[in-house]
Every structure is written in structure tokens, then in C-alpha cells.
Symmetry: C2
DNA sequence: TTGTTAATGAAATTCATTTTCAATAAGGAG
DNA sequence: CTCCTTATTGAAAATGAATTTCATTAACAA
């Protein structure tokens, strides 16, 4: 009772449980933070927001939860030029998208325009590269770097 | 006299000088290390090799030189999942290429096969994105993540 | 309800990178 | 070549994101 959405069987609880992990209040808080934003948050930004949902959570738990979710493939870890990693839910309403990264302010802008052509070309390329280099490709990253509107001189 | 190749006017010396910087033994060592490898080295790996060319060089100078070269656009900084940044000369014999990154051993493999189609698509996409998001694109990054031959289970 | 053990928070630690600061040397002027 | 300005340097200290340690807590299967 009083349980948030999607934390029952088949939802997040199930995802953890299925792999022998446990659903805890800390993990629920982190997931709720990630679920309720379109931003690309760093660990400590997630910590600050998660603490509002669960004042007892520690930063360590945030790092550990992010690590676990990353291994589970449920979140994407981004390493912009800026030194701190940033995270976003893999299966958000946003769907498959790529990024524009501002090298001035480190803002990350999602885009999914023109993505179909990109993804199509990429999957062909993946196939060729896999064969030629005997490399098992699991994922790809495309980012454009430059200056965002706000940072234009 | 006794000066290595390409450190005279119009070469590296000129590149620094033109921007009001000075050519020094430390910088020459770092550049020579980068020029003589196809690997993607980290700062401390560069330091170890540079010390063989110039035993007096300090790690701090390596970092500072890499920062300067990066600003000058003469090297590319790569941030693989692994926490240390890696570097490669922008204008090497390797030419424009993209990367396969092994998520097990962090090895980085260059490829330039099939690159023409990629670059062509990317430049079209860049044009459209630039306009739509009012974003000035200077550079792009494409990486495929997976498991290299040596790490295959 | 109980037992097993995954998960936690706080504090300590790691480690790449940056900053500080006094000493050095690149290179233009004379 | 010599002198001078100041960019550059190395060593040591500082920073800061991320990880590890360890004693305590709580998830959840039985
Ligand atoms: Mn995104
Ligand atoms: Mn490369
Ligand atoms: Zn910006
Ligand atoms: Zn590998």
C-alpha cells in the first residue's frame, strides 16, 4: 500500500528481484529521481533530490545504485568533458536519442531528429566492424560537440 | 642544430610561437611521444615515455602541455568508461577515424573503414541539427562499445 | 517470527587532475 | 652576446569524484 507506480511485481521490484537483488527505499528514491526528469544529472545532483524523497539516503548508496542500474542496463552513463559522470534512464519516454554537448557550459541536449538514418547506418556499420575486428558490439555513442545557443558569443 | 624534425619555424615551434607560447624541452618530449605511437595513451603513460626523452620533465608539465595542445586543437582527448583520459594527435598519419571501445579491458581500436558513409551522413545531420537547435557544431564523436577479441569469453 | 545475507551510512581512502609558489629559462630588445 | 620580462617549470599540497571498509540494518524466504 502507498507504493509508488511501477514498483510492484514486473516493475522495478521485479527487475531487481529477478537478479537476486533487493528493492530498497534508497533505490526507489534514486529511480524516482531519474524517472521524473529529462535532465542528465550527476551523482550528487541525484543525491540532493533523492534526499528529499528519503532523507536517510547516503551518497554512497546513490553511487552504488547507479553502478548497479548501469550494470543492469537500466541507465546510461555519460562522460562529458566535464569530470563528473551524468546519468539518464535507458528506457524513458525520451526513447532512443543522441546528444549535443556544449563544450562551454557542459549542457547536454537530447535529439532524436534524423535519428532513423543514423541508426540505420550505424547498424550496418556495426555488422561490418563486428566481422572485420572480431569485436562484439553492444552499444554505440554519437555526440556532437560545440556551442549551445546560450553560450554563443 | 640537433633539433628534431618539425620543430623549426612553421612546425611545432611555429604553432606555439604564433599564439604567444614558447617551445620548451618538456613540450617537445610530449609531442615526440605522441608522434611516435598509434596508441591512445593516458597522461601518466605519456609521462613515463617522455621522461626517457627528457629525464627532468615533471608530470605536471605533461598535464599542462596536454591541456594546451587540446585547446590548440592539436590533440584529441578521449574519455572512455575508465576514469583516466587518453590522448592522440589530431593530425597523425592515421587520419580521420572513429573508435571501438572494449568495455572489459578499455582498449581502444581505431577504424576508418566505412568511415566515408558515416562522415557524409554526419555532416548532413550536423547541418540540420545546427539549424534546428541553434547549436554551433565543431566536432563529433562516434564510438562503438563492446567486447574485443582478446576479451571474448 | 526468525535467520541469512544483501544493503546501508559514515568515515577513511584512492587516485587522477589541479593549484600553489618559488625558481628557471625562452626568446625579444638592445 | 647580455639583459630583462614573464611564460614555464617541478615539487608538494590541495582538490574532488568515486570507491572501499566495516559495523549495523533491514529485505525477504522459509
Ligand atoms: Mn539524453
Ligand atoms: Mn584513435
Ligand atoms: Zn552552452
Ligand atoms: Zn578488451
Amino acid at each position: 500500500m502507498g507504493r509508488g507506480k511501477c514498483f510492484g511485481q514486473g516493475g522495478w521490484h521485479g527487475k531487481f528481484h529477478g537478479r537476486g537483488y533487493r528493492m530498497t527505499a534508497g533505490r526507489e528514491a534514486v529511480i524516482n529521481v531519474l524517472s521524473s526528469t529529462k535532465e542528465h544529472l550527476s551523482a550528487d545532483e541525484i543525491f540532493i533530490r533523492a534526499r528529499k524523497l528519503n532523507p536517510d539516503i547516503g551518497l554512497t548508496t546513490v553511487y552504488r545504485t547507479l553502478e548497479r542500474l548501469s550494470i543492469m542496463g537500466e541507465i546510461h552513463r555519460l562522460d562529458p568533458g566535464d569530470k563528473r559522470a551524468r546519468f539518464e534512464l535507458a528506457e524513458s519516454e525520451k526513447g532512443h536519442h543522441h546528444h549535443l554537448v556544449c563544450t562551454k557550459c557542459n549542457r547536454i541536449i537530447d535529439y532524436d531528429d534524423f535519428i532513423d538514418d543514423e541508426v540505420k547506418l550505424l547498424s550496418e556499420t556495426e555488422k561490418k566492424l563486428s566481422k572485420k575486428y572480431d569485436f562484439k558490439i553492444n552499444n554505440h555513442l554519437i555526440q556532437f560537440y560545440g556551442e549551445c545557443k546560450e553560450c554563443a558569443e
